[in-house]
């Protein structure tokens, strides 16, 4: 995947982490890779991306990770101004942090974590633009995509739904194939005209 070099132009964070929970198998490889890369320690409880797994009702496995909000609630709630945005990444200044955990409870996504060994909470800082969890995920459930493509899968689904796809079968070099297409309204106006005309004559 292409990397976007951080710049100071404010365009640095043109990519975003996004999760496809339908693909997640719940293996927690993202957790262990995160803890090892960022903390150099074999402890999934120190990871900045963490899996929440629910069953049997509903069945869902979802890694939860910071979305690098542009107007972060955590930053608003911090009483010691320890949270700041640097080139699009929301960071916690451990020297300013007083360990009150306001940010942890105010994050609407629950994406800031704590551990008894550390005073300051910790969160995803995108591994300097090369998120390790994305590379490690065996199910391709964590994506690092250009920001403008967020929501594109929903747009696609919506489009396909609207198009009332039709199918036809055909043969190419003796191999049976299927073609899906959306039938555009054609000829409708002329047919309507004809119909009205014939009705009028009757």
């Amino acid at each position: 995947m292409d990397q976007v070099a951080p710049t100071s132009s404010g365009f640095s964070r043109s990519r975003a982490l996004t999760i496809v929970p339908e693909r997640c198998s719940g293996c927690r490889t993202c957790e262990i890779v995160c803890a090892i890369h960022n903390n150099k320690v074999n402890n999934p409880k120190k990871a900045r991306i963490r899996l929440l797994s629910l069953y049997p009702h509903p069945v869902i496995k979802m890694p939860i990770v910071c979305r690098q909000c542009k107007v972060p609630k955590c930053m608003d709630s911090c009483p010691s101004d320890a949270i700041y945005i640097e080139e699009g990444v929301v960071r916690i200044d451990e020297n300013k942090c007083v360990g009150c955990h306001e940010c942890v409870v105010s994050c609407p996504f629950g994406a800031i974590y704590v551990h008894a060994d550390m005073i300051a909470p910790f969160k995803c800082e995108l591994c300097g633009g090369d998120p390790q969890c994305v590379k490690a995920c065996p199910k391709n459930a964590i994506l690092y995509v250009p920001e403008h493509t967020l929501g594109q899968s929903n747009r696609l689904i919506e489009t396909l739904k609207y198009a009332h796809l039709k199918e036809m079968e055909y043969f190419e070099h003796g191999v049976e194939k299927k073609l899906s297409y959306a039938e555009i309204e054609t000829g409708g106006l002329r047919e309507k005209e004809k119909k009205e005309k014939s009705e009028g004559e009757a």
Binding site: T29, N43, V59, P138
Partner: protein
């Protein structure tokens, strides 16, 4: 052999003992020699169980202990390192037993700071154990009494107010001391075989909840990372990887049917005519709604399935994998995958082994069909092959010990005692029901079942595929060596706490595990060094079994293997030749260095710590 070697990492250093009778806890230091010799997981468990052996030990009495031991790589950055062994003396077979589960439970135990838990005695009240890092409590569990496995886990998480707590529970079957009750964790990770759930039930323990937050030590983390990065990449790039994630072990259904080794109608046949209604393709195209994986495993062989219509609509379960699907499908004549899912769901939730359940239910159906059991014997249920309603009823009866279910709950030996006429129909070794690979075709599989230390379980030495694929011209010695190699390498996986599937299914190089071990502990070893340790564990469990009365006559595959020819499929008409088997067993003892009665030499017994 362990001289001069020094362990510099990999272990937490403590074994937590919990005495339920006296409500006492203590830590036992993991000694250098102990760690080098027994490595972890199944190895630790076997040694601790050996040291607790005593005259007239009742598996369901307070004098029995259960060891819950993750492997020494469990939780480390190593692919598929989520395995935990449960080790004890089995209430099903009365001999040595272990069963392992994947998932996260063992990782959590290690993160709480323990290389193993040892549970002694019996709680005076119905209880659960709560391990919160250094704090241990025995708590009242009366509100969870009679609850299903998943419901218990969910409520415990809510009551402990932490979704990240890991929980292992027993279901109603374990509470009712069904002799093949399992321990369930995270919905569908089961220590399924040998009745570990009944042991917890006998100790008045409904569940064990663990929260661990500690770092897992590795001597050379950089080396471990380098090795694992490479290992994950190898697995990730494997051409079969996508297929494994998609179908998992369900792909074995077609494979086993093609080979003619799928259990069909209580192993009376080994080829199922309706296999394409219960195979992996049916599952993925009509039932699968998600993937599931154990800790740090890229293979994600678990499949989450939902029944969307019909009388079992709304049944949602993780699984089945091959064994469960065959034992609760073809082996009871069920050709409706939604009913297979329902059976799997019931066994998981009630907390009992799908293999033993499927085997015993099939035995009763065959017994009834052949007129060996009367309608009154089976509580007035007119049993027949594939009649899913009555099969589900039987499963519930077993868990609740109701009527005929009370007989089945006693396991194969109990059934034979009550209905001796069923003896030729039960496919079991040492009291444990045979897994879902017919032993009549591949002689290595028959030998593997016969010599398995826990009874007829496929995962002790799954040799049949290799034998049938490439072993046609092998000498008997080569066949025996295959069994011994599997029986040696597999304990190693359980001692390290890693899954065998990357190795056996994707050909992942087992030498890599010696490198993982070295990176974690700082002790340089070769795979051969480690296999010497795991071979010693096989001698150790043999020694335990001999002290508990096992003799050469118990090293015997199910009678059906010799007496009933397969009816249909590629091996129609075939059965195992008794002389061939006896010959093989002889060679097996020789090559293991055991005497004619299957007793390890004094030197071996000393070396493994049995003497």
């Amino acid at each position: 052999m362990t001289d001069g070697k020094k362990i510099k990492g990999g272990y937490l250093g403590n074994i937590l003992h919990i005495d339920l009778t006296d409500r006492k806890f203590w830590l036992e230091e993991v000694g250098e020699d102990f760690a080098l010799k027994y490595i972890g997981g199944r190895g630790f468990g076997a040694k601790i169980v050996m040291d607790n052996l005593r005259e007239g030990l009742d598996p369901l009495g307070p004098e029995n202990i259960i060891v819950i031991a993750p492997g020494m790589l469990s939780g480390l950055y190593v692919p598929a390192s989520g395995k935990t062994s449960f080790v004890s003396i089995s209430p099903l077979t009365g001999i040595y037993a272990d069963s392992n589960m994947g998932g996260m439970f063992g990782v959590e135990i290690r993160q709480a700071g323990y290389d193993a838990l040892v549970i002694h005695g019996r709680a005076s009240e119905f209880s659960y154990i709560w391990i919160d890092d250094d704090e241990v409590q025995i708590r009242d569990a009366s509100k969870y009494k009679g609850k299903m496995s998943t419901a218990t886990e969910r409520e415990l998480k809510e009551d402990l107010q932490d979704e990240e707590v890991k929980v292992a529970t027993i279901g109603p079957a374990g509470e009712n001391l069904v002799r093949f009750a399992c321990v369930n964790s995270e919905w569908s990770r089961n220590a399924g075989r040998t009745g570990m759930g009944a042991i917890l039930g006998s100790k008045n323990i409904k569940a064990i909840a663990v929260r661990g937050t500690k770092d897992l030590p590795a001597y050379d983390l950089d080396k471990l990372i380098e090795l694992s990065d490479r290992a994950y990449k190898t697995l990730h790039d494997h051409p079969m990887m996508k297929f494994w994630q998609e179908e998992g072990l369900m792909s074995v259904i077609d494979y086993a049917n093609t080979l003619g080794i799928i259990p069909t109608r209580n192993f009376s046949d080994a080829h199922f005519e309706d296999v394409d209604r219960i195979n992996g393709e049916v599952m993925t195209s009509r039932y699968k709604i998600g993937d599931s994986a154990c800790y740090s495993c890229p293979m994600a062989c678990g499949n989450i399935c939902l029944v969307k219509s019909g009388k079992y609509a709304g049944t949602v379960t993780e699984g089945p994998e091959y064994e469960s699907a065959a034992m609760l499908g073809s082996n009871v004549g069920i050709n409706d995958f939604s009913a297979v899912l329902r059976g799997n769901y019931l066994c998981d939730e009630l907390g009992m082994d799908t293999i033993s359940s499927g085997s015993l239910v099939a035995t009763v159906i065959e017994g009834y069909e052949r007129g060996l059991l009367s309608l009154a014997d089976v509580d007035g249920i007119a049993l027949s092959w594939g009649d899913d309603s009555s099969i589900m009823k039987l499963l519930e009866k077993i868990a609740n010990r109701d009527g005929i279910g009370d007989v089945l709950a006693e396991g194969a030996n109990g059934v034979i005692e009550k209905f001796p006429q069923l003896k030729p129909l039960i496919s079991q070794v040492k009291g444990m029901d045979q897994s879902a690979y017919d032993g009549r075709v591949g002689v290595t599989m028959a030998l593997a079942y016969a010599t398995s230390d826990i009874g007829a379980h496929h995962a002790r030495a799954w040799t049949i595929a290799k034998e049938l694929e490439v072993g046609a011209d092998w000498t008997l010695e080569e066949k025996v060596d295959l069994v011994i190699y599997h029986q040696t390498v597999r304990p190693l996986f359980d001692m390290l706490g890693v899954c065998r599937l990357p190795w056996i299914e994707l050909g992942f190089d087992e030498n890599t595990y010696a490198e993982f071990y070295a990176a974690a502990t700082g002790v340089e070893v070769t795979l051969d060094d480690l296999l010497k340790r795991s071979n010693a564990i096989y001698n150790l469990t043999r020694a335990i079994n001999m002290r508990l009365g096992v003799t050469r006559s118990d090293d015997h595959p199910p009678e059906r293997t010799f007496n009933d020819p397969i009816k249909t499929g590629p091996h129609a008409g075939e059965h195992m030749d008794r002389n061939l088997f006896e010959q093989l067993l002889e060679i097996y003892y020789q090559r293991r260095g055991w005497d004619k009665d299957g007793r390890p030499s004094d030197e071996q017994l000393h070396e493994c710590g049995a003497l």
